[in-house]
């Protein structure tokens, strides 16, 4: 077995340590942002499974986010299930629905696939908008509570507790994804990305693999949405609006697709940049756009790629690419 470089793992542990210690050092408003960042990071990472590893570009990933958010919001408002169960259940639900979505969308490839995902997202948007009795229509669901955990545990109702729960979800999802892409399943995905025809010829039912990837990606995206609803206290049609689909795709690309960590960084970058720029100037969208164009021109491998190049220049070996 080849000797693996311990440095990336150590760096990972250090970052994890920082994240775990965060609530004790950072001020309250920063914690709130960090929690939202984790949720968005999870959302972006889930899309990377499709975009970065299988070359399935989705223009409708916000469907996963919105579905997860509405499912979890509805359950928290209308049942007495504890929060962790609701969140995981909502994610599962999203994944199941996504099997159907994936089945239809994978009838096509390329841009047609992307547009089908968009169609589903828009239809979901239309349904959420009109089905007022369940989704609250254009007003959405408001006042979503953070219900106490099982056995009367109130840990998740506090900000700190919720933060750790979100962190646990992100870490769990990350390890699942990493295991997936390093497994034989991941190798097939890689094959599909590189040359689907060849992979097909080798005897793999590529369509099944694609549907599976869509389902898993949506489930994890739904997990993010399910976390968002109790975090923000509301779920509304904005979470299903196609603009968010475009934004999360940008997060994946800016962060560095096909790296899992990259999109998390991309989400953080996007959110913080938007937040900060809009507090400095009304014309923030201008700078935002210019920064993206600059990224494309000067940093095509994304934030994570840049970061790895920094390590490489320092003489440290860059971590081998996942998958």
């Amino acid at each position: 077995m080849p000797k693996t470089n311990p440095l990336p793992a150590l760096a990972g542990v250090a970052v994890l340590g920082l994240l775990m210690a965060a609530p004790f050092g950072l001020p309250v408003f920063a914690m709130t942002l960090l929690t939202e960042l984790l949720i968005l990071g999870l959302f972006a990472m889930s899309l990377d499974l499709m975009v970065g590893y299988t070359n399935l570009v989705s223009f409708g990933h916000t469907a996963a986010y919105g579905l997860g958010a509405y499912a979890s919001g509805y359950m928290l408002l209308n049942s007495s299930l504890p929060l962790p169960f609701v969140v995981l259940l909502a994610a599962l639900l999203t994944g199941v629905v996504a099997i159907g979505v994936g089945w239809v969308c994978t009838l096509a490839t390329g841009v047609s696939f992307s547009m089908l995902t968009l169609a589903f997202a828009q239809l979901l948007y239309a349904i959420a908008f009109k089905w007022t009795s369940v989704t609250g229509g254009s007003d959405g669901l408001a006042g979503i509570p953070r219900r106490a955990g099982p056995f009367g545990l109130t840990i998740f109702t506090s900000k700190m507790g919720f933060y750790y729960f979100a962190l646990a979800c992100l870490l769990g999802a990350f390890f699942i994804c990493r295991a997936l892409v390093r497994s034989p399943f991941g190798t097939v995905l890689h094959g599909i990305r590189q040359n689907e025809a060849k992979t097909l010829v080798l005897g793999y039912n590529t369509r099944l693999y694609k549907i599976a990837v869509v389902a898993i990606a949506y489930a994890l995206g739904g997990l993010a949405g399910a976390l968002y609803a109790p975090f923000a206290g509301f779920a509304n049609t904005e979470l299903l609006f196609w603009l968010l689909s475009g934004q999360v795709l940008i997060m994946v690309i800016v962060g560095g697709q096909g790296t899992l960590i990259g999109p998390i960084l991309g989400a953080g970058f996007f959110m913080l940049l938007e937040h900060q720029l809009s507090s400095y100037t009304e014309a923030w969208a201008l700078f935002f756009g210019l920064i993206f164009i600059a990224f494309v021109l000067f940093a095509p491998e994304g934030i994570w790629g840049l970061a790895r190049r920094l390590f490489a220049r320092r003489g440290l070996p860059a971590e081998t690419r996942h998958g």
Partner: protein
């Protein structure tokens, strides 16, 4: 090893990273400027409702400027925290949260969209903050979604519709069709209208809802035309309102039936020009409202804004600030419990006449104004000509309700 003649990429990235992270790492350095009263306004300054948010911003800034010249509130200057949400509720909550947690802001106003307001309102108790709305018209905010820390100084959607219905009592039209935006507010107002018509003994022929962002209203114009009603009641806003009015005028719809609207602000009248002539609408605020305080306000506004007159949301924002002023003066404090108690049953008499912030659901009880869009000397576009003023007790709904009993 590359030659370093300019900052290396690493330096740029480290610098950028620090710039992004820094505001979150140091806290006391970003502490509030001592001795100001902060008012948080996470507005939609860009995006499709940008023009409404811009009006709210101008209204608040104008008020703050004049009031600060007089010493502000409780001897402290008013500091407006204005940031752009682009109409996104997630961004609105994020910004409001930061204003509370980082800048210790406890007063909020000027949230543009009702969806943003509905997202903010459940958090007011946790933030110990008071929110007085200046433009959120969704009836729910004083009904199902009511929270004690919310006050509505502006005319609500149901109130606007009710004013139109009261006006119609003595009008010759007998049957109506309704077109609303497919949105909570649209449905709400059309429902109120339908109920009111029944009470008046007039015929409600039917209704249709158009999705926001509809570009082509030809089908809807035809449907309205085909209803055979005497008049059509419109519950549209923003770009949709403009598009419909422009297109309806091209079909000469006004020659077939009366056109009434829940909202028609100056920006819309400027955008469609003569296409809106003759439309009868409810005004939340109009610069032509005839009372001494409003005349004075309009004059001061014109001086400050190069001869332009104040529009609907600018006036509403001003009124909202006046409510804050009276409440804070009475409470002697901006602390939520004291301010809430002071605002309840508080009355002011200002540019829209008397406004009473009633205790039961915190709605500002105020008159309704009906106007007709007409030409006026000195203006290149139609302006609101007030044709009826309706008493406050008749236009404001019963406590915690969106519909009327009588």
């Amino acid at each position: 090893m590359q030659t370093k003649s300019h900052p290396s990429r690493r330096d740029v990235i480290t610098g950028a990273g620090a710039a992004l992270a820094a505001p979150y790492l140091w806290t006391s350095a970003q502490a509030q400027a001592a001795g100001t009263i902060k008012v948080g306004m996470p507005l939609a300054l860009t995006g499709p409702l940008g023009s409404v948010g811009q009006q709210q911003k101008r209204g608040a800034e104008f008020y703050a400027k004049l009031q600060n010249a007089k010493g502000g509130w409780l001897g402290k200057k008013i500091e407006l925290l204005i940031e752009d949400t682009a109409g996104n509720p997630a961004a609105c909550v994020r910004k409001a949260q930061e204003m509370v947690e980082r800048q210790d802001c406890r007063l909020f106003t000027g949230i543009t969209l009702s969806s943003e307001a509905l997202a903010i309102v459940p958090k007011l108790a946790e933030w110990n903050a008071i929110f007085i709305s200046s433009d959120n018209g969704d009836g729910r905010l004083t009904a199902e979604s009511f929270v004690p820390n919310f006050f509505r100084a502006n005319t609500s959607g149901p109130m606007g519709t009710r004013a139109v219905s009261l006006y119609l009592k003595d009008a010759p039209y007998k049957s109506f069709y309704a077109l609303g935006l497919d949105y909570a507010w649209g449905h709400n107002s059309v429902q109120v209208f339908e109920n009111e018509l029944k009470r008046l003994g007039k015929e409600f022929v039917g209704k249709v809802f158009a999705p926001t962002g509809t570009k082509d209203y030809s089908t809807y114009v035809t449907k309205i035309r085909q209803s055979g009603a005497d008049g059509v009641y419109l519950v549209l806003a923003g770009d949709d309102n403009n598009a419909f009015l422009a297109q309806a005028a091209q079909y000469q719809l006004a020659s077939k039936m009366a056109m009434l609207s829940e909202q028609l602000e100056l920006t819309a009248m400027r955008a469609v020009g003569d296409a809106c002539l003759g439309i009868v609408a409810s005004a939340r605020y109009a610069f032509t409202i005839d009372n001494p305080k409003n005349k004075e306000f309009v004059e001061l506004w014109k001086q400050e804004h190069g001869g332009l007159v104040p529009d609907q949301f600018e006036g509403e924002q001003w009124q909202c600030q006046r409510v804050f002023e009276a409440g804070i003066a009475k409470a002697g404090s901006i602390e939520a419990d004291k301010l809430r108690a002071a605002l309840e049953d508080l009355a002011i008499d200002d540019i829209k006449g008397k406004v009473l912030m009633r205790k039961c659901d915190h709605q500002g009880v105020q008159q309704g104004f009906i106007f007709k869009a007409a030409k006026k000397d000195g203006f290149s576009h139609p302006v609101p000509e007030i044709i009826a003023t309706l008493p406050a007790e008749r236009t404001t709904p019963p406590c915690n309700k969106m519909t009327y009993d009588d």
